[in-house]
């Protein structure tokens, strides 16, 4: 909870307030979620997978409720329902029974296991338990006849990181367990997109595919978390990255981690594959023209193809739109908050349309946020404050002094937006007070087009609403 772990040069001395909010011991209104939530979301993006938390029942239920409210989709998360006895004597029996029950009821192709604060603190050795489950003589199949589905395990105690860290730990766990280094070379491009919307995932697939490259998004929850209405409930909704694609990732053409420059540990999966000699590229999340260009340039290189015409046209229209809108954006300021990887992209985007991101805040604590923002946006040097490991008390305190024209972030910024009367453009996760969180477009030229329209129209609307004249022609 320190204002700026940034290099001194980052903090604009003119803008820097005389009195910085002092460091709080406690956290009020956190700007992050917990590691198991990220892990559950990630596992949902693998075909036929049931996320399973080894911990007390509440974790699974709270996380389900939280994600359901964002995606408006049913979401099943199993729990080992560790109780008092298991806390004292160990939870292996609960884990074993739980896995057997999930296997019997869901017939999953994989169970995505993640630990919780409780089970990490009491020192549960889940990998050893998994080994015993699979034991040919004393394992689950030998003792109950129940075949054991594929299992992946990520350690995710809430105290060790944020939901973003949990998300990537789970992706890495799947890749580590099931990427096949001996698979036939397959030309596949592994994309590690991080936490983005269902619409973003679809668009990424479309972009990579447009270069003639078979893409494997890891994970891809676009269908499972943004699905169609059905006549009969599907316990395991269709969709997600297939087991075959995960296996093939071990001898893919390349891996691309999006956003992995900021959060430590994010590029975990890519590193695993790099050990299998799959070339690994780190790019920021492709938000705005410059950062999307980085992705399309790389895809051009990997495929040897020119940018597809429809993408050229989308980029062209976006440039046109930037120009059309620039006078509404100039001299405006915004506060951007949310996941570290997302805010790096958003800060770069608003900067390139002429809005200064006066504060970039995150509940993440990689310590690399400030450096990454100035690396990608040298012109922001000295004009942006960065808040690592921040909460909304701190964001609000800074907002009331910086008086930005806009807040850009998720729904948890609404109380701040309301109290300070600063409009909020909703992006990221969670979106709990609007419909369509799963459909928000952030990525690619198309995502930037949507963001541009929403950001600029919010500025125009504010100007219109507060104008004594009441122009209908802005």
């Amino acid at each position: 909870m320190v204002i700026s772990n940034a290099p001194r040069a980052l903090v604009d001395q003119d803008r820097a307030p005389s009195r910085q909010p002092s460091r709080s011991t406690s956290t009020t209104n956190a700007c992050r979620m917990c590691m198991p939530l990220g892990a559950c979301l990630a596992y949902t993006g693998f075909e036929g997978t049931v996320p399973f938390l080894h911990g007390s029942q509440g974790c699974a239920t709270y996380i389900r409720r939280y994600l359901i409210s964002h995606f408006s989709e049913p979401m099943d998360i199993a729990s080992s329902s560790v109780g008092e006895a298991a806390t004292v004597f160990g939870g292996e029996e609960n884990l074993r029974t739980g896995i057997a029950n999930v296997a019997r009821v869901y017939h999953p192709s994989m169970i995505g296991l993640a630990s919780t604060c409780l089970t990490e603190t009491i020192g549960e050795d889940v990998p050893a338990m998994i080994a015993r489950l699979r034991d040919p003589d004393e394992g689950l199949q030998a003792t109950t006849g129940q075949p054991v589905p594929r299992l992946a395990f990520a350690p995710t105690p809430s105290y060790a990181g944020t939901h973003a860290d949990g998300f990537h730990a789970a992706v890495a766990a799947v890749v580590k367990a099931y990427a096949d280094a001996d698979a036939a070379p397959n030309g596949q491009v592994n994309v590690f997109p991080g936490i983005v919307s269902a619409a973003d995932l679809r668009h990424l697939n479309e972009i990579v595919g447009a270069y003639g490259l078979p893409s494997a998004l890891m994970p891809d929850y676009s269908d499972r978390m943004d699905g169609v209405t059905v006549a009969r409930y599907e316990k395991l909704p269709a969709g997600g990255t297939t087991a075959a694609a995960v296996a093939a990732s071990g001898s893919a053409l390349a891996s691309i981690t999006l956003g992995g420059m900021v959060t430590p540990g994010v590029e975990l999966a890519g590193r695993v594959l790099a050990a299998h000699a799959v070339p690994h590229y780190h790019l920021p999340l492709p938000i705005g023209i410059r950062l999307t260009d980085q992705l399309t340039d790389l895809l051009g290189e990997l495929s040897g193809r020119a940018m597809p015409e429809w993408l050229v046209a989308e980029r062209g229209r976006l440039v046109d739109a930037y120009i059309d809108a620039h006078k509404y954006a100039m001299d405006r300021t915004a506060i951007v908050f949310g996941d570290e990887d997302l805010v790096v992209g958003l800060a770069s985007f608003v900067a390139e349309i002429g809005i200064t991101p006066v504060l970039v805040a995150s509940g993440g604590r990689s310590g690399r946020l400030a450096a990454e923002i100035t690396r990608l946006n040298p012109t922001l040097e000295g004009r942006v404050e960065v808040l690592d490991d921040g909460d909304f008390t701190e964001i609000e305190a800074r907002a009331s002094e910086l008086k930005p024209d806009l807040l850009i972030g998720h729904s948890k910024g609404y109380p701040t937006s309301r109290r300070l009367d600063i409009p909020l453009v909703r992006v990221g996760l969670p979106i709990h007070d609007r419909v369509g969180g799963q459909r928000i477009k952030h990525l690619g030229y198309r995502g930037a087009q949507d963001l541009l329209d929403r950001v600029v129209n919010t500025l125009i609307q504010r100007r219109q609403d507060t104008s004594p004249v009441g122009y209908a022609y802005m």
Binding site: T25, S26, C34, L37, S56
Partner: protein, 455 residues
């Protein structure tokens, strides 16, 4: 029913099937995707609406994040309860203990917000890392001069029920510490009403019209000072029986205050509750005022109900809510709307509750204690439900299957208690059940084409 796990089979029964009584008050079975929460959740929901208290969650960040201003419990004054406070434990605290972090957090937040009391919620790891919650609370209480009350709500202890009990213990620490002079003989405390969407204000308005004084709203729009003098009331009204019956029983034992279990949902139960209160005070004038009130309110509500009933007659509903009393009232309210109930679940009912539900419901109605999405979806399909009444976790399940939905949980923004609440409920149910959007849902399309015999 094929999907019901063997170990859970007795958590499900059918009205009229003569089977052994339902299993309840049990821990969720490992690996079933329970709709239930944990002990911490139970404590947090009961104490949350005390609006002038600091609610500090002692643990890593998750538990505080997921309970930040998610409930519709309104306050007529201070809104400290709508902030999410956490000690935000990190690895170093897990290794070296979190007592110092807790002490410093409490002192910092009490200085910043000047609460009238503080509740400190223990989460799963607190006991495991050896923090002495009561000792820290005692010490900070001495330093700050306000009650600082430990809530032993470690999640692993069980389901929400254990959390309710821990919350009631915490309330008992406050009750009895205030001055009770000047409290009328016709006075009550309101227990187990969370003032969702301002519901408690509907009830207190009725009580005012009857001439009954409310001493404390223990669990909705609550205030520390009121709760401290709650032992001066002559009667406790217990709604949401699961959460506060134990508190009422303890108040009866300690302070000799009798209690009545009531429900404010539906015309029958609402009127029944007001008459029960009136009869308790044995005051003919009060009874007369109550009769007038009920007649007046019913006259305003019935036309709405009649109007909605025309569209809802014969439709089928599934109920899966927290609290058996609420479930019972809903069965009756739906009947008033001409609807039948095909599934009832309460998650936290007692054996007596389930026995009563079994008698109340039509033969064949499925009655469940703890359930999960796979089962619920089967029951919805088998029962050909047109409406699902539940909480936010159930909503997408209903929608995915093309079934209408009414939010009857703690996040609702529409008051459903009282006579006006019945009118709201009727409109809400009609609005969803009769929406034109269902014509596009696959189950309605296939039913229209006669292609799917199973639904």
């Amino acid at each position: 029913m094929s999907e019901v796990l063997a170990a859970r089979a007795r958590q499900v029964t059918r009205s009229g099937d003569g089977k052994a009584p339902i299993d309840c008050e049990k821990q969720s079975v490992a690996g079933s995707v329970s709709q239930r929460a944990c002990t911490f959740c139970g404590s947090r929901v009961v104490l949350y609406p005390i609006a002038d208290a600091l609610h500090l969650v002692h643990g890593p960040i998750g538990c505080a994040v997921y309970t930040w201003d998610i409930r519709g419990a309104l306050s007529s004054g201070p809104e400290l309860h709508r902030l999410s406070f956490s000690t935000d434990l990190r690895e170093r605290h897990v290794v070296f203990g979190g007592e110092r972090q807790l002490t410093e957090s409490l002192l910092e937040l009490i200085e910043r917000h000047h609460p009238n009391a503080a509740f400190v919620y223990g989460t799963c790891i607190v006991g495991v890392i050896g923090d002495d919650l009561p000792a820290v609370c005692k010490s900070v209480s001495e330093q700050t001069g306000i009650p600082v009350i430990p809530v032993q709500s470690e999640g692993f202890q069980g389901s929400k029920k254990q959390g309710y009990d821990a919350a009631c213990e915490a309330l008992l620490a406050l009750i009895g510490t205030g001055d009770t002079t000047g409290i009328s003989t016709h006075s009550v405390n309101i227990l187990g009403d969370f003032n969702l969407a301002g519901e408690i204000w509907i009830i207190t308005e009725y009580l005012k019209r009857m001439g009954v004084e409310v001493v404390a709203n223990l669990t909705g729009d609550g205030r520390v000072a009121d709760i401290r003098r709650a032992h001066g009331a002559s009667l406790n009204l217990v709604q949401c029986s699961g959460s506060t019956t134990k508190l009422a029983m303890k108040m009866q034992a300690i302070y000799g205050i009798p209690f009545k279990k009531v429900s404010y949902f539906g015309i029958d139960d609402m009127a029944g509750a007001l008459y029960a209160i009136a009869e308790h005070f044995k005051d003919p004038e009060l009874l007369r005022r109550t009769r007038e009130l009920v007649a007046e309110e019913i006259a305003q509500t019935l036309p709405v109900v009649e109007d909605c009933r025309r569209d809802l007659e014969g439709k089928r509903a599934a109920i899966y809510v927290g609290g058996a009393f609420k479930a019972i009232s809903l069965v009756k309210a739906l009947r008033l709307l001409g609807m039948t109930t095909v599934l009832v679940g309460s998650q936290t009912g007692t054996p007596e509750d389930y026995e009563y539900l079994t008698e109340l419901c039509d033969p064949g109605t499925v009655i469940v204690d703890d359930s999960n999405p796979a089962e619920l979806s089967t029951f919805l399909a088998e029962g050909k439900a047109d409406l699902f009444i539940g909480g936010v976790k159930e909503r997408p399940l209903a929608y995915k299957l093309g079934v209408a939905f009414c939010d009857h949980n703690h996040e609702r923004k529409l008051p459903l208690e009282g006579f006006i609440g019945m009118a709201n409920f009727a409109r809400e149910v009609r609005g969803s059940v009769c929406s034109p959007v269902w014509q596009f849902a696959p189950r309605h399309q296939s039913a229209a084409l006669g292609t799917d015999k199973e639904l």
